[in-house]
């Protein structure tokens, strides 16, 4: 039976977790278990359960184990020297809340993070205990995302990782200089060595070379899930949903170029599944922090768009930004910006261009590109056909031809294109939500993500 103290903790430790952008429950397909008392499953595409008043998706119960931090990161509300109300959850309290929320279908699972309670090891142990209770006593088969505390003993990280679907270590500040200045106790070394450890273990697990480093029993007892991981025959023991991280945007003077280059390396060299961006919200005052009037939401949005171009559209970060051009254009989206700077590659003929080329056309996303490739197998495409198929031409019209012709009244001229694109209101969005790659966006065939 819940009581007021629990409600108080939930309020404090929920609010303290809100700056973590990640709430995705994606990457793991797992059927429910028929084991007595078991509950839960997981769907690879992720499921949104609610949206808060800021329009962000809620998929997981996102809470901190504790906000009672011994560290003193300047940008953080939980830092030691800040005067806020402190609270710490008992492991059983979080396990019970997750179970009860899940049962009512409020959530897909748990996202557990924490301030550094006494030491990284101590924190990791308490978090592990929470996950252990949830998996073993509550027999919970839903989604779990757990934060690894940088600097914690790898064995502790590993134990937690064997119970979780996804693990993350937040880099937060994009460069070593910013870290030293704003988060003096955090060391770039310990952040990256934790990340590297996790990605190394994931690789071993994928290739079947994963050896347990202790004698703890399998997380869900003898019924170790039949399809723990993506794909049914693919048994995985260590964070099958992969690793992610988060970068704070706008608290330091790191450029988009710095950020995107880092991101690209994380995807390519550390095999990260996702990098999240969180517009800095000036919640704390400190002379070393910028005094922003409001969080840089548009910049955050542009970074997400650029991030999608890296992951799904075959772009390299050097094509989007460089030293001389270090920040994303706020006026229109990064693909438009790239196209306008590379007009010699356009217009492309819809009936001939290959899939990868189509993907580079502004306004054409993966869904439209696939439709085009499929439909032109059975007949040549004109603008009418494209419209009927639901391909949105608003931005694409400046960059394509159908049967050799541009759309009527459209001039292929840099000034004309730039002027018209800047007029397009939709290019300045009411921030669509990139946190959860929603299946809806796929099903609806919308190109909202291109």
């Amino acid at each position: 039976m819940p009581n007021n103290d629990l409600l108080r903790k939930l309020n404090i430790l929920g609010a303290a977790a809100k700056y973590d952008a990640s709430c995705a429950s994606s990457g793991v397909e797992r059927r429910g278990s028929s084991k007595q008392g078991a509950m839960g499953n997981s769907v690879a595409c992720g499921i949104c359960h609610s949206f808060t008043q800021d329009g962000r998706c809620v998929s997981l119960l996102k809470v901190l184990q504790s906000n009672d931090c011994v560290y003193d990161c300047k940008y953080c509300v939980n830092r030691r020297t800040n005067d806020v109300e402190r609270a710490t959850f008992m492991p059983r309290e979080i396990a019970m809340l997750t179970y009860e929320f899940y049962r009512r279908n409020y959530i897909e699972g748990l996202f557990l993070s924490s301030a550094v309670i006494l030491s990284p090891d101590n924190t990791m142990e308490i978090m592990y205990e929470t996950l252990r209770l949830l998996r073993q006593e509550f027999c919970f088969y839903g989604y779990i995302h757990v934060k690894a505390i940088p600097g914690a003993d790898p064995l502790l990280i590993e134990r937690a990782g064997r119970l979780a679907d996804r693990m993350s270590v937040n880099i937060e500040l994009p460069s070593e200089a910013s870290l030293t200045r704003l988060a003096p106790q955090k060391k770039k070394r310990s952040i990256f060595s934790s990340m590297r450890y996790i990605s190394g273990r994931i690789e071993e697990d994928k290739s079947g070379k994963f050896l347990l480093r202790d004698n703890l029993p399998a997380p869900l007892g003898e019924t170790m899930p039949t399809s723990y991981g993506t794909g049914s025959s693919n048994k995985r023991t260590f964070v099958p949903g992969g690793q992610s991280t988060q970068l704070i945007i706008g608290a330091t003077d790191d450029t988009d170029h710095d950020i995107l280059t880092l991101t690209e390396n994380l995807y390519n060299k550390m095999q990260l599944k996702r990098v999240y961006y969180s517009a800095y919200v000036p919640a704390v005052k400190d002379p070393s922090l910028p005094s922003l009037a409001e969080p840089p939401l548009l910049r955050e949005h542009r970074l997400y768009q650029a991030d999608w171009l890296l992951r799904f559209y075959g772009f390299r970060s050097s094509e989007l930004l460089n030293e001389r051009n270090p920040n994303l254009n706020l006026k229109y989206d990064p693909k438009c910006d790239w196209a306008v700077r590379n007009l010699d590659l356009f217009p492309v003929e819809v009936n001939k261009a290959d899939y990868d080329t189509l993907l580079r056309v502004p306004g054409i996303g993966t869904i439209s590109a696939r439709k085009i490739v499929s439909a032109r197998k059975v007949g040549s495409l004109g603008f009418e056909e494209l419209k009927k198929m639901g391909v949105v031409l608003k931005r694409a019209q400046y960059f394509i031809t159908c049967r050799g012709k541009m759309m009527p009244h459209i001039k292929f001229d840099p000034k004309f294109i730039d002027a018209n694109l800047s007029l397009d209101k939709r290019a300045i969005p009411i921030f669509s939500n990139y946190e959860q790659l929603s299946l809806l966006d796929y099903i609806n065939g919308g190109d909202s993500l291109c």
Binding site: T52, N105, A375, I430
Partner: protein
Amino acid sequence: MLNIYIYDGSYHGLLTSCFDAWKDKDIYSIRTKEENKDVNLLEKVVYIETDNEKAERIIKWVGKEACYEVQRKLYRVFLTEHPERGMYIFRYLKLLNQLGRNVENHLYNDDVRNINKLSRMHASETHRLYGFVRFEVIGNNILYARIEPDFNQLEVIAPYFADRYNGHLWIIHDLTRNMAAIFNGSQYIITEYNGNMLDNESKTEISFQKMWVEYLDALTIKERLNLDLQKQKVPLKTRKHLTEFMFKSKN
């Protein structure tokens, strides 16, 4: 003459109509009795008796000629309860017969568009329900949820929640259609249902609802407040059975 085929409202009935009307050049509509309100003089009505064998033959044929995905799509179109669904499915089947598997590439053909559009709308509501069905714990640990979806969804969401809450008891009640899916921990049935299960909620239930509502408030970043975006993601008309939107007015 315009021929109107009347079936019993089941999917098998609809497919039997398609089967029997296959060669009919004057087919005008395929409807259920309820949908067939006023008939004019030019119309001739044919009553179809559902034949499971004929229906299964069509389903198998679709699977062979196209694929499982297309089978699912047509079934979803049936579940939308769209007044034209009968003819949409009929014409799609004809097209499938004519073009074979290639039919799926004819994305700008109207018959193909209708099927794709309706099945997509249905699928997106299904997916939304996965996340937005809200259970309350009533009586002896029974999970009870009310929904009022635009389309008939019980058939497709029941297996999902059966897997998720395997071993638990639940009822999902579609108020619009007076139907419910009832799960006994291992199997579900779908049946007519008019009960009202929500007369007195326990203190425990209310306190968990309160925690959920306050939690969502705590999670909101006030500096990013964006009610338009929230409205776009959770349209007003879908909020009626969502704890987080109804709790305050209820208590």
